[in-house]
Symmetry: C2
C-alpha cells in the first residue's frame, strides 16, 4: 500500500510521561463544523472595577479589603477545595470503598493590578515578578506539602470566572494522580535509560526541530510528539532542573522572555486572547525534599482548547472520555503554524 | 478534632476501575458562580428537516441519500477518525518517539427517524430496538476488531453537532487507553479477590443503597463511590455478563426500562434535555474472543457535565487537568437528588 505520512494517515502515538496513547487522525480536520460556537472573550474589561474581588482596594467575599497592590498579590482562596485541618475519613470497610485524608491550602495570585492585562501584554520585568512569586510560593508551601500545584485557567471556556490576570496555587498533603503518574514514568525512564526523560526529550526536540515553537539559551517550547490538545505545548528547561525554586536569576529572565514569546504567538494564532489551562510540574516537596529527585525535570504544560478559530474548540468527549484522546491535526502541523506566527502581539503591531 | 462527615470534610476517594483518585470537596458547592453560562438546548427542533444529514430521505456529505428508515439506521461516518486501511507508521527510531498503527471503522447510528425525540421520550419498544442494534454492531464489528466503542455525545455542550438522536460506534485495531486500564484493574481484582470487581461492586451497592439511583431485577444504576462528574452514573448488570451481545431477551427489555427511568430523572433534574457522554465497556473482542474474560463485567458510564442548573456546568480544567479530578458535591448527595426525582418526564407530566 501507499507510503505512510503522519499528516494523512491515522496512527497512535505514545505519551511516555503519562504512559498512554493518543490517536492522531489529521485528515479529520477537513470535516465541517456545525456544532457549538464559543463566545470570544470580552474586549471591554475595565482596568479597575471596585466590584471585582481581584482588584486592588476591592472587598472580597470574606469582607477583607485588598491592599493597593502594585505587583503580584497572593491571598487565600475564599472557597478552597483544600483546607489545612479536615478530619480523617473513617477506615474503609471494603477494598472497593476506599477514602483517604486530603489536606491542603488554596491560594489565588493576581499577576498585576490591572484587570485588562494578560501575561503576553505585560513587560518582561512584570512577568519576571510573577515567576519570582511562583518560586516563592513553591518554596513556602513546599516546605511542608508534598505537592504544590501552580495553575492558570485563562478564559471563560476554561472555567475561569474572572478576567483579571491571575493563577491559583493548590498545595496538598498527597501526590495527585498526575504527579504520581509522572513520578513513576520519569523514575522508570531514568532507571532504564540512565538519563532524565525530559532532559533527553528536550535534547532530541532541539535537534529534530519540527515540533519546536520557540527557544532560547535556557528553554524550549515544543508541541509534544504526543500532544492531545490541538495547540498543546510543553515548556522545558535545557538544563536539569528539579523545581521552580531552583531556577537561577538568568533562567528566570529567559523564562519571562520565552513565556511572553509563546503567549504572543498563542494570542496571534486566532487574534484573540487565547484560552488555556497551564501549570507547573516539578519534583515533589515536603517529605520528598530529602529524596533523590534526579528522575524529575521541571516543566510546564499548556492545554489550550481552541481548534479552528477563536470560536471553534476541540471537544474531548465521547470517544476521548470513554476510550482514548484523539486529535485532528498533527503536532508537527500545529508547531509549524505557531512557529510561523509573528512575535509582535496583534494588538501592539500598529504602534 | 470533629467527627468526619463526607458532605462537609474534603477527602480523596479511590477509583478501583481506573486506579486513580478523586478529590471530594463538598463544602465548595456553596461558592457563587460568576463564570460562563451554557446555552440551553434548542426547544424547537423540527421533527424532519431535509437539510439534516441524519434524517430519513436527506442527502449526506458524500452525496448518498438516506433511506426512509423507520427504526434505527446505521451508516458510515463521513469524516471517520479511523479507516480500515491506513499504512503502518515507520519504525520508531527512539523510545520517546513511538508510533503505532491504528485501523478501524467509524459508524453513526440514528436511534429514531424523528429529530425532536430523545431516548427518555422514546417508547420501551423503541429503546429496545436501539439496544438490539447496539448488540448487533458489537457482534459484527467485534468479529474482527479488538475494541468496539459505542458512545453517545448528547447536547452541544458535549461537542454534539446534531440534535437528531444518535450515537457513534468506533471500532479499532487496538485497545484504547480506557480499555487497557479497565482490563488491567479488573484482571488484578479477580486474581486478588476471586470475584469480578464490578459484580462484587454491584452487590455491595445494592446492599448499601445510599448511592443507588434506580434498580430492577437485572440492572442497577449508581453514582459510583468514586464519581468525578457531579451526576456521573454507572449502569451495571446484576448477573455476570461480559458483553452487550451476551444479554438475554429479558435483560434487553429490562435494560430499556432502566435506561428510560435513568434518563427521565436526568432530564427532570434541571428540566432540560440533559447533556452527557455515555458509552459501553465490555470484554475485548476480535482476537480476544477466545480468551478468558471472567474478570470483565459489562457496564455503561454516563458522564454529564452539568453541576448546578441547566446553564452551569462543572469545568474539568486547571487543577483537574494538571493534578486530579475534584468534585463539589458528594456522590451520595448526587444519588439522593436523582433518586428523589419523579419517573415521569417533565414534558409529559401534564398529559
Ligand atoms: O464526531 P463528532 O460528533 O462530529 O465529534 C464529536 O465527537 C468526537 C468523538 O467523541 C470528538 O472527537 C469530537 O471532538 C466531538 O466534537
Ligand atoms: O476556582 P475557580 O476558578 O472558581 O474554578 C475553576 O478552577 C477549578 C480548579 O481547576 C475547577 O475545579 C473549577 O471547576 C473551575 O471552574
Amino acid at each position: 500500500s501507499s507510503r505512510f505520512r503522519a499528516s494523512e494517515h491515522q496512527h497512535a502515538r505514545y505519551n511516555p510521561l503519562r504512559d498512554d496513547w493518543v490517536l492522531v487522525s489529521a485528515h479529520r480536520v477537513k470535516r465541517p463544523w456545525q456544532g457549538q460556537l464559543e463566545k470570544p472573550p470580552p474586549e471591554d474589561v475595565p482596568r479597575w472595577d471596585p466590584k471585582n474581588p481581584l482588584c486592588p482596594g476591592a472587598t472580597r467575599a470574606n469582607g477583607e479589603v485588598n491592599p493597593q497592590y502594585e505587583g503580584t498579590f497572593v491571598f487565600p482562596n475564599d472557597f478552597p477545595a483544600l483546607q489545612p485541618d479536615a478530619p480523617e475519613p473513617d477506615d474503609s470497610d471494603h477494598p472497593l470503598f476506599r477514602a483517604a485524608p486530603a489536606r491542603g491550602v488554596c491560594k489565588v495570585m493576581c499577576f498585576h493590578p490591572w484587570s485588562d492585562l494578560t501575561l503576553p501584554l505585560m513587560s518582561l520585568a512584570e512577568i519576571r515578578t510573577v515567576i519570582d512569586a511562583w518560586a516563592e510560593l513553591a518554596t513556602d508551601l513546599g516546605a511542608s506539602y508534598p505537592w504544590v500545584q501552580i495553575f492558570e485557567n485563562k478564559g471563560a471556556m476554561m472555567g475561569c470566572s474572572n478576567p483579571h490576570p491571575h493563577c491559583q496555587v493548590w498545595a496538598s498533603s498527597f501526590l495527585p494522580n498526575e504527579a504520581r503518574l509522572e513520578d513513576r514514568t520519569q523514575r522508570e525512564h531514568l532507571s532504564q535509560h540512565g538519563v532524565p526523560m525530559l532532559l533527553e526529550y528536550a535534547e532530541q526536540e532541539a535537534r529534530r526541530k519540527e515540533r519546536l515553537v520557540v527557544e532560547n539559551a535556557d528553554w524550549l517550547v515544543v508541541v509534544p510528539y504526543w500532544a492531545t490538545w490541538p495547540y498543546q505545548t510543553l515548556l522545558l528547561p535545557r538544563r536539569h532542573v528539579c523545581r521552580l525554586q531552583d531556577l537561577r536569576e538568568s533562567e528566570r529572565d529567559s523564562l519571562a522572555s520565552i513565556m511572553k514569546r509563546l503567549l504572543i504567538k498563542y494570542d496571534n494564532l486566532f487574534e484573540v486572547s487565547f484560552p488555556y489551562s497551564m501549570g507547573w510540574h516539578g519534583a515533589p516537596t515536603g517529605p520528598h525534599l530529602e529524596e533523590d529527585c534526579r528522575h524529575w525535570q521541571l516543566h510546564a504544560h499548556y492545554y489550550p482548547p481552541l481548534l479552528r478559530s477563536a470560536t471553534v474548540r476541540k471537544f474531548m468527549v465521547g470517544y476521548e472520555m470513554l476510550a482514548q484522546a484523539q486529535r485532528d491535526l498533527t503536532p508537527e502541523q500545529a508547531a509549524e503554524r505557531l512557529r510561523s506566527l509573528p512575535e509582535v502581539h496583534y494588538k501592539e503591531g500598529d504602534k
